[in-house]
Amino acid sequence: MRGDSNTENGGAAASFAIPYTRYLRPDGTLEGELPAFAQDPRDLIPLYRMMALTRALDEKAVALQRTGRLGTYASSLGQEAVGIGVAAAMRADDVLIPSFREQSAQLWRGVTPTEILLYWGGDEQGSDFSGPRQDFPVCIPVATHVPHAAGVALAFLLRDEPRVAVCVTGDGGTSKGDFYEAINIAGVWNLPAVFIVNNNQWAISVPRSQQTAAETLAQKAIAAGIPGEQVDGNDVIAVREAAERAIARARDGEGPGLIEAVTYRLSDHTTADDARRYREDAEVSARWKDEPLSRLRRYLVDKGVWTKEDEEALLTESSQTVDQAADEYLATPAGAVTDMFDFLYAELPTDLLAQRQAASQTEGGGDG
């Protein structure tokens, strides 16, 4: 029948819509009916606390970098709700496959602030998470980790385990072939994987408008035949609710999904970047009114479950936590020089014995 005019559907072969979800407006007021987990505002306090800890950790990390005590660091300032909303929707035995800006999700899942600082401080020990042992380390080459999520999800499917692989990438990542190839195979194989796009509007200096002509990033799911939707990425309730729905579908064998969380990168790309070279300060200032912490704080205060004293105590506690993490990180000795050999293969090949021996005799070893 293709090609024949069809008056019933206006001649369209198929048609699609991209839903959009928001519960919490920037001014802290609500729209729509809150999901079950958010009915009692007190239940939102743990989300708020972890977003605040993330912000404190980012601030501390940038300060450490500026004073020469940490390597290049990618702050998540303004995007804390994405990682927290997603991680709060996951079960402990699900697996997170993050990009390099998901410290909030990592913290929620039990990666310690010390480990995060160790990694960005230039030490592989930071990716040997004591908490979520099966979570992937951060991924630096953009979107190359998205196929890993398909593989992890296939492992769950083959073992018939009710677990879900959750992958986060950025807006820039959606322009990469790996992103499409991964969501495509996830669709074909009905894999229990959920793909989150942290659309923070900027891929270093290239704005979202120059990344793709597509009206939304969520609609890229349509090409893969999987559900795609958009949420206000600064509304942790919306992120968590959409992620819970997508994860539940995946867990129940209903296949993968894609969620575009629309947010904004309030910081530079990393500490090695100066966003003033390509982005107006006025644009950034205007976006501060949308950021995720203040709207949730207003809501909690309006509901009478959060006070000025609570806020001050939280700031003090967060600050103490990250200060202590920084101390632990700085006090952690670098690994042995021979570590670069000893973690390369399961067993060191004979051909590398001489190099290992030579390296073990180099002076000092590490810059720890």
Binding site: S127, D128, Q134, T144, V152, L154, L158, D178
Partner: protein, 326 residues
């Protein structure tokens, strides 16, 4: 027992691995009902089912990237890249992830995966189907690069690669997929990785090679024997990590070394072997190390490819020059 070809030995090893280890998953383009374009996976989907023998979308990067995820979860994926000419999208996954997952997580996550790909020229294949770029992979720390040159070695080395706890690029010399047949008992016995194989013992010159070039090199050794020259022939078998010891010991005995490979000369893996000899075997050498290799040109299309590929005649000629060196 019927003798089988190299590609049939690959199939036999895959079947044995699937049978004996439920963690083994075979995936790739056309590996299912079609049995692979070279029939390496023929009959596997019928025996082991579509869960474990999986046709992927046409998506090389995902074959490798998905294998990384599977391997990190404890599976033993064996991916097929249909031709080496299509392997380049996969380099990102190998360099950025498979090779370094163990290092970057200090062993918390590991990557026991195998990527198989037919490689090399001489079969009158279309453009992009004939190159030999093994040196690219041998340059990557954390990988193993393994190349069989006979049905028995294909069986034993592939089983070893699948059982190895780290990522292996397994390159199959497609020109000899069906060139020779051997008895290959299906014992499940793996060969040792990281070891050269001495194909022929000799005392006058060491010929070092791998893959399909073992055929020309052995033919050259036979011709040299007619001239009273007793050549030792070494099949490197695992390029990375290199078993330099076997080569050095051979050259200590013969004093002369000729390296033969199909890949272009400059930066080819022969250069690494020559460098090892210069570093550790100089005093054994009676003549400069020589290389017979493909030219530093684009691999020509089939009408000229035989002029590109090293022949037994070129090998014999280079060996004579080495033997004539004062």
């Amino acid at each position: 027992m019927a003798e089988i070809s190299l590609v049939e030995a690959v199939n036999q090893a895959l079947a044995h691995a699937l049978e004996s280890d439920e963690r083994v998953i075979v995936l790739g383009e056309d590996v299912g009902p079609d049995g692979g374009v070279f029939r390496a996976t023929e009959g596997l989907i019928e025996r082991f089912g579509k869960d474990r023998v999986r046709d992927t979308p046409l998506s090389e990067s995902v074959i490798a990237g998905l294998s990384v995820g599977l391997a990190a979860q404890g599976f033993r994926p064996v991916g097929e890249i249909q031709f080496m000419g299509f392997i380049y999208p996969v380099i990102d996954q190998l360099v950025s992830h498979a090779s370094r997952l163990r290092t970057r997580t200090r062993g918390r996550l590991t990557c026991p995966m195998v990527l198989r790909a037919p490689y090399g020229g001489g079969v009158r294949a279309p453009e992009h189907h004939s190159e030999s770029t093994e040196a690219m992979f041998a340059h990557v720390p954390g990988l193993r690069v393994v190349i069989p040159s006979s049905p028995r070695r294909a069986y034993g080395l592939l089983l070893a690669a699948i059982r190895d706890p780290d990522p292996v690029v397994f390159l199959e010399p497609k020109r000899i997929y069906r060139a020779l047949k051997e008895d290959v008992p299906d014992t499940g016995e793996a060969m040792a990785l990281d070891k050269c194989v001495v194909l022929r013992e000799g005392s006058d010159i060491t010929l070092v090679t791998w893959g399909a070039m073992t055929i020309e090199t052995l033919a050259a050794a036979e011709e040299l024997l007619g001239e009273g020259v007793n050549a030792e022939v070494i099949d490197v078998a695992t390029l990375k990590p290199l078993d330099a010891q076997t080569i050095l010991e051979s050259v200590k005995k013969t004093g002369r070394c000729l390296i033969v490979h199909e890949a272009p000369l400059t930066g080819g893996f022969g250069a690494e072997i020559a460098a090892r000899l210069a570093e550790h075997g100089l005093m054994s050498l009676l003549a400069p190390v020589r290389r017979v290799a493909g030219y530093d040109t684009i691999m020509p299309l089939p009408r000229l490819e035989h002029s590109y590929m090293p022949s037994a005649a070129r090998i014999v000629s280079a060996a004579r020059e080495s033997l004539d060196y004062a």
